[in-house]
Amino acid sequence: MSVHDLVAITALGGSEPCVETVGAVTCTEVPGVALASVAARLGQESKAAKALAKLIGSPAPGIGRTSGEALTAFWAGPEQWMVEAPFETHEEIADQATTAMGETASVTEQTDAWTRFDLSGDGIPAVLELLCQLDLRTLDEGSAARCSIHHVGCFVLCRTSRLFSLYGPRASVGTLHHAIITAMRSAL
């Protein structure tokens, strides 16, 4: 853990995460997450999957899936995953993942490349259908899909039918947040 004295701001520019509720759905900015990408080295794919499984304590997620509990991973591309963990305990997640993966994978810090919003409550599909092309019928618990929301490339993760996480690129977060909130106001 570092002991530096720089104070972080959230992607939306606040010192506290932004929370907004419309109807029965709440949108919460989630800065407390550390992310690293893990991409298997050529020819090391199965070893990498095993190492990842060990890291997250659960089999490496398959295509379009998430897995894990304290540390979770979701599928991001062929032989590539994102590892998520609480920021408080895993700020240096890239180092931790690098150690865990050894020579089997290339690890890249992604913590601040992305910003997460959690949508919780009832009626989320009505919001998401105004935002992205994903077939929500096929998104069940543990689904992870990349898609475009108002021209912003995002990940949509279904934790449960009442909790979805949306990851969008940090710099475009204002646009993404505006899109989510207007869709909530429109649909709910």
């Binding site: 570092s2 002991v3 530096h4 004295d5 720089l6 104070v7 972080a8 701001i9 959230t10 992607a11 520019g13 800065p31 990408s37 991409a39 298997a40 080295r41 050529l42 020819g43 590539q80 240096e92 994978a105 290339s106 890249t108 810090e109 992604q110 913590t111 601040d112 490349a113 992305w114 259908e129 105004l130 935002l131 992205c132 092309q133 994903l134 077939d135 929500l136 019928r137 108002h150 021209h151 912003v152 690129p169 940090r170 710099a171 475009s172 977060v173 204002g174 646009t175 993404l176 505006h178 899109a179 207007t182 869709a183 106001r185 429109s186």
Partner: protein, 981 residues
């Protein structure tokens, strides 16, 4: 005003009275009315004027095929021109205006055109208005343009919001008449995910307009029951007020839901309309049929309507267009209108049936073998003239005439992928052809199945077949099953001014003239006469025009051609297609990590692609941007400045083949770059032209960080993935963008190191020896925060780029500012950045303009011949290597007070100034506070050998000629001593 033409019954809510205004007169209506039904109820027949002759126009139909009854709806910035009264759902406070008339609907000055119609024949304008040539733009065209168009826009920004969304289903059913409802019941009961969409606000299609029964229920009751059952099914989504506008590739349908058009005012944050992209496995078109008119002399007067429409108004809306109605028909359906209206107490003047064997009635007179030959009534029908079978003529007093020429299957959507309808002789109509959009089937009247029983059955059967359902079909209610045969009757013989396209004023005579002049294909006919080009896309007119063309050509209709339709099914507001992507939301906005801080500092921002970047940071008292920019440059060069350069693309390249990969990507070599070092890299496209430049730092043997220009970040990443996956699939390389993960700041100027030493943790040596020019490495700052440091310079000063996780970027910038106070640190923006890079002679976007080669940029020698890199082979083509090829040079005014203009062209001091003598051009220009002179970069033929030469910089478009001197592009510190200090 009372609703004089209101009948009994109907599906309107008489308990709700709504007020509305048309042409500034107040009327009342009921909930469930359309504007058209409400106007008719109030005895208003004339509601508009036609396009060319300004003839009076009333309501023709009761649906979206309406060509005539179009108005300007609402007022102020919500005014909607050309809105169909027939589909406008009544709401309290509705306001509408007639259009294409001046000064009033009743007394319209341009109605005079009708008198001169003989001079305004089809295509007359192609043959005249040519002399004298100058008169076209000065006189003729302004005259024509003034008369153009129908409705007018408010010219104010559309205040409403629109949404766009996506839906998915197993089966999309388009239309909710008998076939659509039965298909939905069949599919819905079987558990399929079904969307049932209908453009009407009431589901049920024509069932709401008919008096026959389905089983033990009236048609509308059966429809209501079916809708109730469907709405209880969780797997069925009903979408009324939703028009499916187009069938696109692979089962994607566009649909427009009018969520707010029926409301007096939109609730806050709610959209007016939603564009749905519906992704279907299968789709079933149940769009019914469109009644077709018969052409006869003066068949366009207000009060002359489609017979089926009259019936709809009577049965559904409890309205008649007149207390006395006549019918002109060639088929039994016309008689149904007469019977229904008679039952409602409307006087039937007579039914004029062209058939000698037409059915008769006890309730009203049927004139067999008769034809309507002319009509009268200036602003609305007063009587019709009928030629009887015995050759005599008769006059029928009537305020409305219902016309039925039979029904055309509504094949619109089946044509959207350029499928052609097929001719059905029994129906004398086009039915869906063999080339339907993949996954689409057609049921009911849209497929030529004209009876109600047939519609129900085909709806159930098609749905079952599309979903591959096994088992018995649901029981069908007993419904009318009259055999339908249509004998064509297109126009009354000898008619001339008989309207086909009532909106555009295309008559039978025009079609004949078109044929006479050789415009004989359907496409030529449409274009020459404008038939079918009106806002209804010719839904009621195309067939008649085609039939008349066939007749004069002596060919059959299918030999003459088919009519096909293009999306959208009905016109769609442009705002709906745009959705939320307008104003500030047109494109995503990307903010840099120091954005909020910069805003506090009063920075002026500029759009750079989707990024907003600080352009300069004005201080109090600075009144002109140049003051701020000059100060930022001077202070950076004198002490130290900080600039947010996060926007540069950053791509993490890892893997055992990472170096080999960069060797392929870059024109220059990277294999031997030492760990802890950074190198400038030039990327070529495969055609040998420079694509992008940047740096690559080697953090480890198998780990590089590549930077790209801000503009090209996405292109370069895509290109690198192409090379990795498609050209070198066995290289062990992994790529990922890290642009936004790191807040990256350039710290530049002689005091840059001193400033950084205050924040870089002491265990890291950043002295010139410990961290020389082009070094790079992982460090920590401020007591342990992980960071990256690159000793690279775009400004030409001693400079570093320092990167920390983006969330700390704001804090780091603030820290640099406080720690830098002792050096009078300045933040600098993109302008100062640009000035300094021009002073240093670094190429940027203006120079890397997609047409320049490494040679042009003065980097020809960087293109390695010893390795395989993208673009190296084609960069050797002869024309790219000619001796007088353009070279990047510096440009200085001879007189320092003069200004260099980017975009100016370079000419020799002597000789003509024209394109043939062009020597080159200026790409970038700036005022250099370091040189106290305007300076520029540019490309000059053989420029490398022309330093010191005087030339003329000409920019006629900015009215400028400047004597300039060609100099080295490196205006500041050409030896590069500062960057190495």
């Amino acid at each position: 005003m009372t609703q004089t033409n209101r009948l009994s019954g109907g599906q309107i809510d008489r308990n709700t009275t709504l007020n509305f205004r048309f042409d500034n007169r107040s009327y009342t209506a009921h909930s469930g009315d359309t504007l058209a039904s409400a106007l008719l109820a109030n005895g208003v027949r004339m509601i508009g004027r036609s396009f060319k002759y300004h003839r009076p126009r009333g309501v023709l139909t009761a649906g979206s095929e309406e060509p005539n009854g179009i108005v300007e709806l609402r007022t102020g910035n919500r005014k909607e021109p050309n809105t169909r009264a027939t589909t406008t759902e009544m709401f309290d406070g509705l306001e509408a205006q007639s259009q294409n008339r001046w000064p009033s609907l009743k007394y319209d000055a341009l109605a005079v055109n009708d008198l001169f119609s003989n001079f305004l024949s089809a295509g007359f304008y192609y043959k005249t208005f040519m002399w004298p040539a100058a008169f076209w733009e000065k006189l003729y065209e302004p005259m024509i343009r003034r008369a153009a168009g129908l409705g007018s826009l408010s010219m104010e920004d559309d205040p409403d919001e629109y949404d766009k969304g996506f839906r998915h289903c197993d089966l999309l059913i388009i239309g909710s008449g008998p076939s659509g409802l039965m298909a939905a019941l069949t599919a819905g009961r079987a558990g399929a995910d079904v969307i049932l969409a209908d453009e009407d606000f009431a589901l049920g299609g024509r069932l709401n307009s008919e008096t026959f029964t389905l089983g033990d229920h009236s048609a509308s009751d059966w429809a209501a029951q079916a809708v109730a059952e469907l709405s209880a099914l969780p797997n069925v989504r009903l979408m009324p007020r939703t028009t499916v506008i187009g069938a696109f590739d692979h089962g994607v349908y566009g649909a427009v839901e009018r969520t707010g058009d029926h409301l007096p005012t939109l609730p806050a944050a709610k959209p007016r309309q939603i564009l749905w992209r519906i992704y279907t496995k299968r789709a079933l078109l149940c769009a019914g049929a469109t009644e077709r008119p018969i052409a006869f002399e003066n068949n366009d007067r207000p009060g002359i309507m489609m017979a089926g429409a009259l019936r709809s108004y009577a049965n559904r809306f409890a309205v008649t267009a007149s207390e006395r109605v006549a019918i002109f028909t060639n088929n039994d359906d016309g008689h149904r209108t007469a019977a229904d209206m008679h039952a409602k107490g409307v006087k039937i003047a007579a039914v004029v049936d062209v058939r000698d064997d037409a059915p008769t009635s006890h309730d009203y007179e049927v004139l067999r073998g008769a034809q309507v030959t002319d009509t009268k009534g200036r602003h609305g029908l007063t009587f019709v003239e009928v030629a009887l079978a015995d050759g005599t003529t008769r006059t029928l007093d009537c305020g409305a005439l219902g016309v039925s020429g039979g029904w055309n299957p509504n094949v619109h959507l089946t044509c959207h992928q350029r499928g052609r309808p097929a001719w059905n002789e029994a129906l004398a109509a086009f039915v869906p052809g063999p080339d339907l959009p993949v996954g689409l089937s057609v049921a009911g009247a849209a497929n030529g199945v004209m009876s109600t029983h047939g519609a129900l059955q085909s709806g159930a059967e098609e749905a079952a077949q599309l979903l591959e359902l096994s088992g018995a079909l649901p029981d069908l209610p007993k419904a009318e099953d009259a055999p339908v045969a249509q004998k064509p009757f297109w126009c009354v013989e000898g008619c001339k001014r008989a309207w086909l396209d009532q909106q555009n004023d295309v008559t039978v005579k025009d079609v004949k003239l078109s044929y006479q002049e050789g415009f004989r294909s359907v496409e030529h006919l449409k274009r020459y006469t404008t038939l079918g080009m009106a806002t209804d896309q010719g839904k009621t007119s195309n067939m008649g025009g085609l039939a008349i063309m066939a007749e004069v050509a002596g060919k059959s209709i299918p030999e003459t051609g088919t009519t096909i339709f293009r999306p959208p099914y009905t016109p769609v507001p442009i705002g709906t297609f745009a959705g939320r992507m307008r104003g500030q939301e047109f494109h995503p906005t990307r903010l840099t990590p120091s954005h909020y801080w910069a805003k506090e500092r009063g920075a002026v921002f500029v759009e750079v692609g989707n990024w907003l970047r600080a352009q300069w940071f004005p201080l109090p008292g600075e009144t002109h941007w140049r003051e701020s920019v000059d100060r930022e440059v001077r202070q950076t060069r004198a002490s130290v400045g900080v600039c947010d350069c996060t926007t540069l693309g950053k791509i993490d390249v890892q893997g055992t083949d990472a170096a080999a990969f960069l060797n392929r990507i870059y024109a220059n070599g990277f294999a031997k770059l030492a760990v802890g070092k950074t190198r400038y890299g030039l990327m070529l496209r495969e055609d040998g032209i420079a694509m992008d430049d940047g740096t690559a730092g080697r953090l480890a043997e198998d780990h590089f960080v590549v930077t790209t220009t801000t503009a090209n970040a996405a292109n370069v990443y895509r290109h690198m993935e192409f090379v990795r996956q498609c050209l070198c699939p066995d290289m062990d390389v992994q790529l990922i963008s890290t642009t936004e993960a790191w807040a990256q700041y350039a710290v530049a100027g002689p005091n840059a190191r001193k400033l950084l030493q205050k924040i870089v943790d002491p265990e890291f040596d950043i002295s010139n020896e410990g961290f020389p020019f082009m070094a790079c490495g992982n460090i920590t700052v401020c007591g342990g925060l992980r960071a990256r440091l690159f000793r690279i310079s775009f400004s030409g000063e001693l400079a570093f780029e320092i990167a920390v996780p983006a969330r700390y970027g704001d804090a780091l910038m603030r820290r640099l500012m406080t720690e830098g106070e002792e050096f009078a640190v300045v933040p600098y923006g993109t302008e100062a950045l640009g000035v300094m890079r021009i002073e240093k002679g670094h190429a940027a976007g203006n120079e890397l303009n997609g047409t320049t080669t490494a040679l042009n940029l003065g980097m020809g020698r960087m293109v390695s011949k010893k390795k395989d890199s993208i673009g190296s082979t084609l960069s050797e083509r002869e024309a790219l290597n000619e001796p007088d090829a353009l070279r990047m040079v510096g440009i200085k005014p001879v007189d320092a007070d003069h200004k260099i203009t980017a975009g100016g062209h370079l000419m020799n001091t002597e000789g003509p100034v024209d394109a043939a003598h062009d020597q080159g051009y200026v790409t970038s220009a700036a005022y250099s506070p370091s040189l106290n002179s305007s300076i520029g970069l540019g490309f000059l033929k053989n420029g490398g050998n022309r330093l010191g030469e005087q030339m003329r910089l000409v920019s006629p478009v900015t009215d400028l000629t400047v004597e300039v001197e060609i100099v080295s592009a490196h205006f500041v510190d050409p030896e590069g001593e500062r960057v190495r200090a």
